[in-house]
Amino acid sequence: MGCGICRIHCALSAAGTDDLLKAYRLNKLPASRIRIDENLIDKKHPLMFAIQCIQCEQPECVESCLTGAIHKDLKTGVVIINKDKCIGCWTCVLACPYSCIFPDISVSKRAVKCELCLDKESPPCVAGCPNNALIVEDERA
């Protein structure tokens, strides 16, 4: 439906709170790591989907990163940003063909992306999707 609730859950989780008002009022909300891609040109058949980093085999963000801040974890396959090394130059933003690495310009001033919330039982975007449109599957097994 393109409701974008996943984006709110993602940003809240990144802000480290589940209180929406608190997140908005105390801090600015960080950038969501998931985005809605939609094509509304054909009014009868609109196309919309939520999309986040697909953890590429050979990630262009890793290859383009000027500082070596991004790497692909060989065990989990997740592409991870080292926040201490990221200088917010946004070269990765320009390199990602899916536009799934985001410039968190107002809060952390670092690039952010979906790192699959492996520390949580279920990623907040999945848990919070009202339509069960988002699912999480582990391909490694």
Binding site: S64, G68, I87, V93, L94, S99, P103
Partner: protein
């Protein structure tokens, strides 16, 4: 098989990581002219400004060479190459044989001769050594002049301003970042940089310097303005380190000529990175594309082909991401000038500092320049590389309403939807 790599930067890392990723256990030796483990050159400005120390700008961690089983030789520049005997000679008299050689020796800053200016008062920012020099030179001065308003020049200027120096940038062109920005983008950024304290003298140049007992006091501009300054940053571009390759008989134009497999004209000799003049995505001729992502990608292609795996370089492309004065700017492809047969479309909100321009030729995107909301530039840049016809979606792209959902179904299915 023994693979020898000359140079220890982005292209070398691209080659090493690809060679090992493909499972090759071939012997790899790397020779660097510098005394440091691989570091991020784009972070040098952050060293100059004091945000990072030289030990915190490693491009890979210190275990990189061990993890990837690479024999590292530092402070050992090559002086000559025998391509028929497959032998390299080094400055200390040592030599080594190779089965495959990758030349990724990078580039050095172009120099500029100015009357009455000694070399001691000229500084650069392309290596750790040069960065330490300029930091030392800046310690007891209050005014600095930077020649060149390109990426490195603005980096130096911004870093010196953060050190509370008064900085004037002198640029021959009529705008800042002239090789990637047009006048509109350039003006937006110039105002923000001026608000930060960087001054500019555009369409201007230095004609002479005033030194007393080796101490720089001022420079004189072409329009007769005198600028007080204690040091000069020379940031007018870089030149490939390819003289020894030329002497060895390898075909060199402005850089070492390579094909889409990064092969040079000499058997088993490859080149990648700022030293290489390789194929381009948008034009037929080879071209120098001295940017970091291009160096890594070329190194990766060279690495694959050196171990007999067939990987084709899809071509270099100008791509720049700037974050000067906290203004995000992305440019990719041909964005700085008006190109023959191409049409420009743009949207500008000068007050908000938002500007987007796309350059279209024969229905295909050949350039994109975005100031402000850069969140979708990756997808837009990808359209340049894939050469998909976007003529019906120009407004959607300009208004940032374009997405992957506009792609032809078969492309979308292949790229995105895997289930």
């Amino acid at each position: 098989m023994k693979i020898v790599i000359l140079g220890n930067s982005a292209a070398a890392v691209g080659a090493i990581e690809e060679i090992r990723r493909k499972g090759s256990s071939d012997e790899i030796e790397i020779y660097s002219a510098e005394p440091y483990l691989v570091y991020s050159k784009p972070m040098l400005a952050h060293v100059l400004s004091g945000e990072f120390g030289i030990h915190n700008i490693g491009y890979r961690d210190e275990n990189f060479y061990k993890t990837f089983d690479v024999k590292l030789n530092l402070s050992l520049p090559a002086i000559s190459l025998d391509v028929s005997g497959k032998k390299l000679h080094f400055v200390n008299g040592a030599s080594t044989d190779y089965d495959r050689l990758l030349i990724s020796t990078g580039a050095h800053p172009l120099d500029m001769q100015i009357p009455n200016l000694s070399a001691d008062n000229k500084f650069y920012l392309t290596t750790i050594g040069e960065t330490l020099d300029i930091a030392k030179g800046a310690a007891d001065i209050s005014d600095a002049v930077v020649i060149g308003a390109g990426f490195i020049g603005l980096n130096v200027a911004e870093a010196l301003v953060r050190l509370d120096k008064k900085v004037v940038v002198v640029e021959l062109a009529d705008r800042i970042l002239p090789s990637s920005l047009d006048h509109r983008a350039s003006e937006i950024l110039r105002e923000k940089l001026e608000a930060e304290g960087v001054s500019f003298r555009l369409s201007n140049k230095i004609v002479s310097a005033d030194e007393v007992d080796g101490k720089l006091r001022s420079v004189l501009l072409e329009d007769e303005e005198e600028l007080p300054c204690g040091l000069i940053g020379v940031c007018i571009g870089v030149k490939p380190n390819c003289d020894f390759a030329r002497v060895a008989g390898i075909i060199v134009n402005r850089g070492i000529i390579v094909n889409e497999r990064m092969q040079t004209s000499a058997p088993d000799v490859y080149a990648a990175g700022d030293v290489a003049e390789g194929p381009h995505i948008l034009i037929e001729e080879n071209r120098l594309v001295p940017n970091w992502p291009n160096a890594y990608r070329q190194g990766k292609v060279a690495g694959a082909n050196m171990i007999g795996s067939d990987l084709i370089f899809d071509g270099g492309i100008e791509m720049n991401s700037y974050n000067f004065a906290n203004i995000p700017i992305n440019s990719i492809g041909f964005t700085a000038q008006v190109y023959d047969g191409a049409e420009e479309y743009f949207t500008l909100d000068y007050k908000k500092g938002n500007y987007r321009k796309i350059v279209v030729k024969d229905g295909k995107l050949i350039g994109a320049l975005v100031v402000g909301d850069i969140s979708k530039t990756g997808m837009i840049g990808w359209l340049i590389k894939t050469k998909i016809d976007i003529s019906s979606y120009i407004n959607e792209i300009l208004n940032l309403e374009y997405g992957l959902s506009f792609l032809p179904k078969e492309v979308l299915n292949e790229r995105i939807i895997r289930y």
